[in-house]
């Protein structure tokens, strides 16, 4: 961040990580910042006054990660209707992940008549402890609501664990599906990235970022890995497959 400030940039585009957005915000209160695909709620995080009128120097696009917690569980259980016990793995160092699990998840679980148990992960060692505990708890589904750097770094371990134990899994980002996860449902980030140009254009033409409303994604994508489905012996229902935007065969 400090490198960019030394280069006298006019606009900063910050992509895809809540901590990077926080860092940009901490680095400057004057240079316009356009954020993309952040999972955090920018109002709750104290970055902006409101979505409609951000104030300050930040605007851009959120990813609705929290709002999709329930939707992901719904799609997971539609795909694998036998699921009753969902193990939720989340990054305890990301405040919004903690918020999702503590505040959003319980209502979603109740609505779908599921039982859930969550495992807070902060270090590599936490994964070593979580996996056998999830087996002991007799989970029959896995949910990873946010793809934080920690979760990304250990994604292949979670995927391998899910395959070994034949557990259907739901993630937030299609890149996880590329890495072998069963499925993901989330904002179409490519669409959000294209939308960044709109904000940059407006700011170049004199608009204040604080006057440009923060947008929420309008396009969502469902990704399914059929190789993984085959490996865990799961048949994806045709109506789910028909809704998929990306299918890995």
């Amino acid at each position: 961040m400090s490198e960019l400030l030394r280069l006298n940039v006019d606009i900063i585009v910050v992509a895809g990580a809540d901590l990077a957005i926080q860092a940009a915000r901490n680095g400057t209160k004057t240079i316009p910042i356009v954020m993309i695909g952040a999972g955090l709620d920018p109002v709750r995080a104290g970055l902006v006054e409101s979505l409609a009128h951000p104030g300050g120097n930040i605007t851009g696009i959120t990813s609705l990660a929290g709002e999709l917690v329930g939707k992901r569980l719904e799609v997971l259980t539609e795909t694998a209707p036998k699921i009753t016990r969902v193990a939720v793995l989340y990054d305890g160092t990301v405040p919004d992940s903690v918020f999702d699990v503590k505040e959003v998840l319980p209502g979603a679980v109740r609505a779908l008549r599921l039982i859930s148990q969550h495992w807070e992960l902060r270090t590599a060692g936490d994964f070593d402890k979580a996996f056998p505990a999830i087996v002991r708890w007799r989970a029959d589904g896995i949910s990873v609501p946010r793809r934080s750097p920690l979760m990304r770094n250990h994604e292949r371990r979670i995927v391998a664990f899910s395959l070994k134990n034949r557990l259907p899994s739901m993630y937030a980002n299609r890149l996880s599906v590329d890495a072998g996860a069963l499925m993901s449902y989330g904002a179409d980030l490519a669409d959000s990235y294209r939308r960044v140009a709109y904000y940059v254009d407006k700011i170049i033409k004199g608009a204040k970022p604080g006057d440009l409303p923060i947008e929420q994604p309008t396009k969502f994508e469902l990704a399914i890995n059929l190789k993984t489905a085959n490996q865990i012996g799961l048949t994806i229902p045709p109506n789910i497959l028909a809704r998929a935007d990306r299918v890995i065969r």
Partner: protein, 89 residues
Amino acid sequence: MRVASSLWSVVSKTLALSAMLFAVCFYAQAQQPKKITRIGYLVAADPATDSARSEAVRVALRELGYVEVKTLSSIIDMLRANAIATRSW
């Protein structure tokens, strides 16, 4: 977390063409607060993961009439190396 930064400089095609075609107006052009905009790009992903996304931003900017004047590749490389070496958020 890997953090890569890069820098793009874009210029409005409209402004650039105006400067060429209407030389007598260069003074007025000079009154423009900025012709070239430097865009810093901060991303918490490895370059391979991010390349398609950052390209989407560039393509969308081109569609709005902006021309990429230069991408400071040496600076990008330096920034990436520096960011990967020093950042640990």
